[in-house]
């Protein structure tokens, strides 16, 4: 096979009793950007991690430059010129950028003593190559998510990576950082570095990828040239059926005022004012760090409110704890489902019922039948797919994990629900389910606030879109007048709406 840089064949992997990969294969040519697509749980990330040596395959053969290769650990992969940028970046937050790059790096010979000057000299060209302008002494924790990602790429390059695996690299980036990343990927390709790009996002794949390999249920179902393939065909390959991605009609039943926010100020927010109606979906747009999550935290009693007023159903709200906010009918689905949302070693049932145990008990004793009964209803509504309610949530795909978290909040029947980037890193089918649920909530007279980094998603779901920049509201658009350009301008430019 000409130009084949890397080949994996017949890769099997089981986690516990669950088969993640069953005879998956992947073939990457030198100097191409190769997309790895598939639904939740199709095995994309697992395959990427196996290729990078982070996970060991049960079975499978690998070839690099046509030669058989063994990949059993990250150093093995490094020696073969394979690098990975994990979705959850694996940096050491308290070590400096330079230390992060040289640690475990076989290309930098470390003696028993830390040699800071050599370290920095080693790192600088790679940091420049990826366009990261920070000091090499900066601790990783003080970098933005986008910068951390660049640092991870610089690290992989400094390890002489010829094959770079990127696992959902744009899942936490806003559009401008995505553009920079794409520029960088094109630059790498022109230098002969191959990139395997794991993503759900169809538009990104058509923009930067040369070829696409689609996984379904742990098996490779096909590899296509991106240029001669339509998105419909890829979706068919991924799910085995057609999906309607166009935005459906959104009946808007705008009811009474559900929540009034006046001059709200916290440690980050400044003079935030808006009104939220029952039956309305309000989008919250803004760059990372603009105060989107902080708005939810303030309303939900996690961040102290310094100034201003919040009225809920006509009465003042000053929630000092999530418990109080929940009692007043506010729910919050946090941004990071793994660290802020789910109990990863508890079952689907236990996770879902956690916020509503109050009504699933009698004298402190749990009523299992009631718990299961209520979960059954909401699971059907969410189209939650899991082997059983007793399955540990860590065994579920990202989309189903998110649905478990949503189930927890739906069971609480909140009047106002704040969804912080609920579709981050989940596949198209699960996204559709979540859009449908948002619509159903609004139709049932609930007020929904939806944070998202993806503008098309906001335009698809929201009746109005509020834009934050540096903790201030810079614009509120009605759905009819909102465009991606306008929102971007309000999110980035100070003078646009001064």
């Amino acid at each position: 096979m000409p130009d084949s840089l890397f080949e994996a064949a017949h890769v099997d992997k089981h986690f516990g009793g669950v088969a993640a990969l069953r005879g998956a294969s992947l073939e990457v040519r030198a100097g191409e950007v190769h997309a790895l697509m598939g639904e939740n749980g199709a095995g994309k990330s697992t395959l990427a991690r196996i290729v990078a040596g982070a996970v060991r395959a049960d079975r499978g053969s690998f070839r690099v430059d046509g030669q058989p290769a063994a990949i059993a650990s990250p150093p093995d992969a490094q020696r073969l010129g394979i690098g990975i940028i994990h979705q959850e970046l694996d940096l050491f937050p308290n070590l400096s950028a330079a230390e992060n790059m040289v640690i475990g790096n076989l290309c930098f010979r470390e003696g028993p003593w830390a040699r800071f000057r050599q370290m920095e000299a080693f790192c600088r060209p790679f940091l420049e190559q990826v366009g990261l302008t920070c000091s090499a002494r900066e601790p990783a924790a003080s970098l933005s998510i986008g910068q951390r990602q660049l640092l991870a790429i610089a690290r992989a390059l400094s390890m002489n990576a010829r094959l770079l695996l990127m696992d959902e690299p744009t899942s936490s980036l806003f559009d401008d950082a995505v553009e920079r990343l794409f520029g960088l990927i094109r630059g790498l390709r022109s230098r002969g570095v191959s990139v395997v790009y794991v993503s759900h996002k169809m538009d990104e794949i058509f923009r930067i990828c040369d070829r696409v390999t689609v996984l379904r249920d742990g098996q490779t179902v096909g590899t296509r040239d991106a240029a001669s393939t339509g998105s419909g065909e890829l979706i068919r390959l991924m799910v085995g059926r057609e999906l309607d991605l166009s935005s459906g009609p959104r009946p808007r039943v705008r009811g009474d005022v559900a929540m009034e926010v006046e001059d709200l100020g916290t440690s980050l927010l400044r003079n935030v004012s808006f009104t939220l109606h029952r039956g309305e979906v309000l989008g919250i747009a803004g760059l990372v760090g603009a105060g989107r999550s902080e708005l939810g935290a303030a309303l939900f009693g996690l961040d102290p409110i310094v100034s201003g007023r919040v009225k809920l159903g006509g009465a003042a709200l000053s929630a000092r704890s999530p418990r109080e906010a929940m009692r007043r009918g506010i729910g919050l689905v946090p941004e990071d489902r793994r660290t802020e949302g789910l109990m990863m070693s508890m079952s689907v049932r236990e996770n879902a019922s956690l916020a509503t145990l109050g009504r699933m008990q009698r004298l402190g004793f749990l009523r299992g039948a009631r718990e299961r009964g209520e979960l059954r209803t909401v699971a059907g509504q969410l189209a939650l797919h899991c082997p059983s309610t007793e399955t540990c949530v860590s065994h579920l795909s990202g989309g189903n994990q998110q649905k478990v978290l949503l189930a927890r909040w739906l069971l609480l029947h909140p009047q106002v629900l704040f969804l912080d980037d609920p579709t981050r890193g989940i596949d198209v089918a699960a996204k559709q389910d979540i859009y449908r649920i948002i619509e159903e909530l609004a139709a049932a007279g609930k007020a929904v606030m939806l944070v998202s980094s993806e503008l098309p998603e906001l335009l698809r779901c929201c009746h109005r879109i509020l834009v934050l920049r540096e903790g201030r509201v810079t614009a509120i658009y009605d759905a009819e007048e909102a465009t991606q350009e306008k929102i971007m301008a309000s999110a980035t430019l100070a003078e646009a709406h001064a």
Binding site: F15, L354, T389, E390
Partner: protein, 366 residues
């Protein structure tokens, strides 16, 4: 850690309920996920059972070993298997066992309690003081009740203070309970002027107390009752669910509005309570209130909990595991002592067993 199958879950997830709830859950499911769910269904149902059986198997293996190596009495019977010996084992593990039950809850929340040995010493000293120095005019019954109530109440209070410091000052449990381990030991010694307060063998109230509360039935019964209570508490109550949820992911627990502080104060109060009860029984058993009692009990308790499969970082674990862990340690001690193994060698063997037990569990949990 990313893929850590449901160890502690085994206890809580009844395999039959999995079967019952499977069909409706796949409604509208994608073909692939559907298949994944069913192909390995049998294996998945079996695994929790096998995993439970495994710690039981370790216990059975040690029991078998103890029976085989047991010295033989003059009438040809194996001393280890005599009812008297077996109930002796249960009596011997009861105090550590009770403390281990409460320690399981502490560890499930992601905490640790180093102060239980000192709390036991305080309780022992208070019991003896109450019986010999206070309330000289009270009747026997109320005198004994008062002494026990004082010891247990103050021990529980000590635990509650640990909990309050951990929950409100947000100092790590290790530090807080290390401090109270030192402080409570000091308190116990100060109260007793560094002396053992002897409980006599005569006909006074203290002697009657000791006679009653060193009965095997009472001691073992207290452990069995506590074990049943804590089992139910962990598996069947909202409190138990909160304990595991907080240890699994405290931040998520906060975001879900769980009563984190209240739960923690209760958990450490329960440790104080059980260490206090253990202290009362210790006083009866040893006929004295010894302010130097219970040294290193916290470590024995932690060892039993960990051998029982509870994850030291919290969130995963079970009372049944802790009971098995306690039994393993008890049978092992008994076996070694029956064979006249030097007590120092006994400690070395236990050290190896602790590491092996946890390593084997990690291995099979992959």
């Amino acid at each position: 850690m990313a893929r850590d199958p449901e160890v502690g879950q085994a206890v809580h997830a009844c395999p039959l309920s999995c079967l019952g709830s499977a069909p409706w859950f796949s409604v509208g499911g994608l073909a692939g996920e559907h298949r994944l769910g069913h192909a390995d269904g049998g294996a998945r149902l079996m695994r929790p059972i096998l995993r439970r059986a495994q710690s039981l198997a370790a216990l059975l293996a040690i029991l078998l070993l103890a029976a085989i190596t047991s010295p033989v009495a003059s009438d040809g019977s194996r001393i280890f298997l005599e009812i008297g010996n077996l109930t002796d084992i249960l009596r011997q593990i009861s105090l550590i066992g009770m403390i281990s039950l409460a320690m399981t809850f502490v560890i499930l929340t992601g905490g640790i309690d180093l102060s239980v040995g000192s709390t036991l010493a305080l309780s022992t000293a208070l019991t003896a003081m109450g019986l010999t120095r206070l309330w000289p005019t009270a009747s026997y019954g109320s005198h004994i009740a008062l002494a026990i109530a004082m010891a247990v109440a103050l021990s529980t209070l000590a635990g509650a203070l640990n909990g309050v410091a951990i929950a409100t000052l947000r100092v790590q449990p290790f530090i807080v309970t290390l401090a109270s381990m030192i402080g409570l030991r000091g308190l116990a010694k100060w109260l007793t002027d560094n002396e053992n307060i002897d409980i006599g063998f005569g006909r006074d109230v203290a002697a009657r107390f000791a006679e009653l509360f060193r009965e095997k039935a009472i001691v073992i019964g207290a452990f069995a009752g506590a074990a049943a209570g804590f089992w139910i508490l962990l598996d069947r109550t909202v409190f138990g669910r909160h304990v595991r949820a907080i240890g699994d992911n405290e931040k998520a627990a906060e975001y879900t509005g769980l009563p984190i502080r209240r739960t923690k104060v209760w958990v450490y109060s329960l440790t104080g309570l059980l260490a206090g009860i253990a202290g009362v029984l210790y006083a009866a058993e040893n006929h004295q209130g010894n302010p130097n009692a219970g040294v290193a009990y916290e470590l024995d308790a932690i060892a039993a909990v960990v051998i029982g499969g509870t994850r030291l970082s919290g969130g995963k674990g079970s009372i049944s595991g802790t009971i098995v862990g306690t039994l393993i340690m008890g049978v092992l001690t008994n076996m070694l002592r029956l064979n006249n193994v030097d007590s120092n060698v006994e400690m070395m063997i236990k050290a190896v067993i602790i590491v092996l037990a946890v390593a084997v569990q990690r291995e099979t949990n992959r």
